[in-house]
């Protein structure tokens, strides 16, 4: 049974316009480590949480009544975590994290709660969870220990287009639409800042196809209202070296392999 609790320490965001990002318990906290006051230590998602907060701050600087902000939810995806609700709330408030709501669900029903909360991006450290969410039409991305060392002053989103990823069996209308909708919103946020000194940087990396597939990706994104900052066309070269320079907070790929209509 899912329960949702608001974090009274944090000002609630406008439901219609906010971009809801759900981050799992295991990403926010280092689940193994607890200090003696029963407070969890922070996990790999910390730089990401900080940078989302930073984007919100800059958005409000541009427009003090801005409603299109990132709204962060902490979601549990296991029964065991679900039962730790008070520790989780305490730890979150202890660390002063800008988490708007808590969603206490289990492995059976966390997908539903993503839908109920209108989640536009689901971030987890667990590959299976990401896959399940994607299959149900919620764009997902994996966080790992690389995420822990990303910068916290600029949100770096990298979209990987890779022709060798076989089209998702679920490349259903819903899944594609939610991917496009999420990108459109990111694009809108990006538009609020100038070319330089933006707290959000959008990068596209095409692995396999040549320049023409990169070109069509740029055009598709433009039609969604996303203006891309950086583009790398690898022509088959390995992604590793380039990605380690880019240091994305998260990579969007599997759910986005086909952007064109």
């Amino acid at each position: 049974m899912v329960s949702t609790v608001q974090n009274s320490d944090v000002k609630q965001k406008n439901e219609d316009q906010a971009v809801v990002v759900a981050v799992t318990f295991a990403a926010v906290f280092d689940a193994e480590a607890e200090d003696d006051r029963d407070v969890y230590r922070l996990g790999v998602a910390l730089p990401l949480l900080q940078v989302l907060q930073r984007v919100n701050e800059r958005l409000l600087e541009e427009n003090p009544v801005e409603h299109q902000l990132f709204d962060i939810i902490l979601i549990t995806t296991e029964t065991r975590q679900q039962q730790q609700s008070s520790s989780i709330i305490t730890s979150t408030r202890h660390h002063g994290l800008e988490v708007g709501r808590f969603c206490f669900s289990s492995e059976d029903d966390f997908i539903e709660s993503l839908a109920q909360n209108n989640v536009q991006l689901f971030l987890t450290t667990d590959g299976n969870e990401a896959l399940r969410a994607t299959q149900q039409g919620v764009p997902s991305a994996l966080l790992d220990k690389n995420s822990a060392s990303c910068p916290s002053d600029q949100l770096r989103v990298v979209l990987c287009q890779d022709a060798t990823i076989q089209p998702d069996a679920d490349s259903s209308g819903a899944s594609k639409k939610s991917a496009q909708s999420f990108l459109t919103r990111l694009g809108q946020i990006r538009q609020k800042f100038g070319m330089f000194n933006s707290p959000l940087c959008f990068t596209i990396v095409t692995s396999c196809g040549g320049k023409d597939s990169c070109c069509s990706a740029l055009k598709s994104l433009r039609s969604l209202g996303v203006s891309v900052d950086e583009a790398y066309c690898l022509g088959g070269a390995p992604r590793g070296p380039i990605l380690s320079i880019l240091r994305p907070h998260f990579l969007l790929s599997d759910g986005f392999s086909q952007l064109e209509g």
Partner: protein, 384 residues
């Protein structure tokens, strides 16, 4: 670059040391996750649709050499094409207007810039290499590098297609430094309009040179790549030039004579000459020595009878063959270059760069060594 087993014709079988290109700053887990299987590429990649313009294609699959196997030449968009009008818009009207202008003119291709004939010649060499070694990855690989925002990317891609260039790799860094990417691409040569970036690249051990817009450019061969190099502070270190600048010509001659048998230290472009030499040997191995589509030249102010000897001995000790060595003994380089018609000439002194350009030779400045304290571009529009 890994070496196919090839018999070196000059009599010595020598294991040539590849100029070390440092790897990009990789962290273990990115590599493991993203490891790309090149074998998979040949089998599963769909064949590129043949359009009328693409005359050259490797059967079926798109053929992308691994960066460490190819001779990677990174070229800035500002030297491959002419973008002065757009630069002016940027300088006078700011970045937003600049981007709007680029998008508005997206379907208008840029005109060729100073590096264009050089890049075309690299492609001509590739065509010959593919005929002789269809499976080899030891080819020139051209990467377009630009500081531009990816907005401009579409216009650049349209331009590449318009001119029928075979460039499938690029970096649009949206303003951040490309140096990390140059290393990740195992870049063998970087050509840019921006002297600062070139200096940064040189500091990282990447061969690099600054190029300038030219008023008139002489015609060059479309079938044979010709690359000319100055000696001191380009192929060799600037140690001798230091002596010349601080103690004068006589001391220079004396020093060179005394040290004739001591090898000169290497300079920033030695690695690139080496890479060219390796490709040349592939042609020699197939009996193409007289018909080789790569030709290299040394154009130096040293004189044949004296100071030039040390240069030749050094090259020989390095196992590098240079096709023609021209010792000018201080005479102006312009007329000689005009006769040679190289696609590109590398020199560390702006004086020579300007002299070359006056006579229509595309010259690229290597901002290295003691001569930089005395340099100042007089006539050419360089730098930013």
């Amino acid at each position: 670059m890994s070496l196919d087993p090839i018999q070196v014709m000059s009599g010595q079988v020598k294991e040539l040391k590849v100029s070390p290109s440092s790897n990009g700053d990789t962290r273990g887990s990115w590599e493991e996750k993203e490891e790309f299987d090149p074998n998979q590429l040949d089998l599963t990649t769909k064949s590129k649709p043949v359009t009328g313009r693409r005359a050259r294609k490797v059967e079926g699959a798109m053929f992308f050499p691994k960066p460490e196997n190819a001779v990677t030449v990174a070229v800035s968009s500002r030297v491959l094409f002419r973008t002065e009008r757009e630069q002016k818009v940027f300088e006078q009207k700011g970045v937003e207007e600049y981007l709007r202008y680029q998008i508005e003119h997206e379907n208008e291709p840029f005109a060729p810039g100073p590096a264009f004939p050089f890049v075309k010649a690299l492609e001509a060499v590739n065509a010959r290499l593919r005929e002789l070694y269809p499976q080899s990855e030891e080819l020139f690989d051209i990467v377009l590098v630009t500081y531009n925002h990816a907005h401009v990317g579409i216009r650049l891609i349209n331009t590449i297609n318009h001119h029928n260039l075979f460039i499938e790799r690029f970096c649009m860094t949206g303003g951040s430094s490309p140096i990390g990417y140059l290393k990740a691409w195992h870049t063998n040569l970087y050509l840019s309009a921006d002297a600062e970036k070139v200096r940064e690249a040189l500091a990282e051990g990447i061969a690099a040179a600054t190029m300038f817009m030219m008023e008139k450019v002489s015609e060059v061969s479309e079938s044979q790549l010709r690359v000319a190099f100055d000696g001191d502070a380009v192929l060799f270190s600037d140690e001798s030039e230091r002596i010349f600048k601080t103690h004068g010509l006589d001391k220079f001659f004396e020093h060179e004579r005394e040290n004739e048998d001591i090898l000169l230290d290497h300079g920033p472009l030695k690695g690139f000459l080496e890479a060219l030499g390796k490709l040349q040997k592939k042609f020699y191995a197939k009996g193409q020595r007289l018909n080789c589509p790569i030709r290299t030249y040394l154009v130096t102010a040293r004189s044949a009878a004296s100071s030039g000897i040390r240069a030749l001995k050094t090259l020989r000790a390095w196992g590098l063959e240079i096709d023609e060595a021209l010792f000018l003994a201080g005479a102006p380089k312009g007329p000689m270059l005009e006769k040679i018609r190289p696609h590109i000439y590398f020199d560390d002194q702006m004086f020579h760069i300007e002299g070359a350009a006056e006579m229509g030779t595309v010259a690229a400045h290597v901002p290295y060594g003691i001569a930089q304290k005395h340099n100042s571009p007089q006539t050419l529009s360089g730098g930013k």
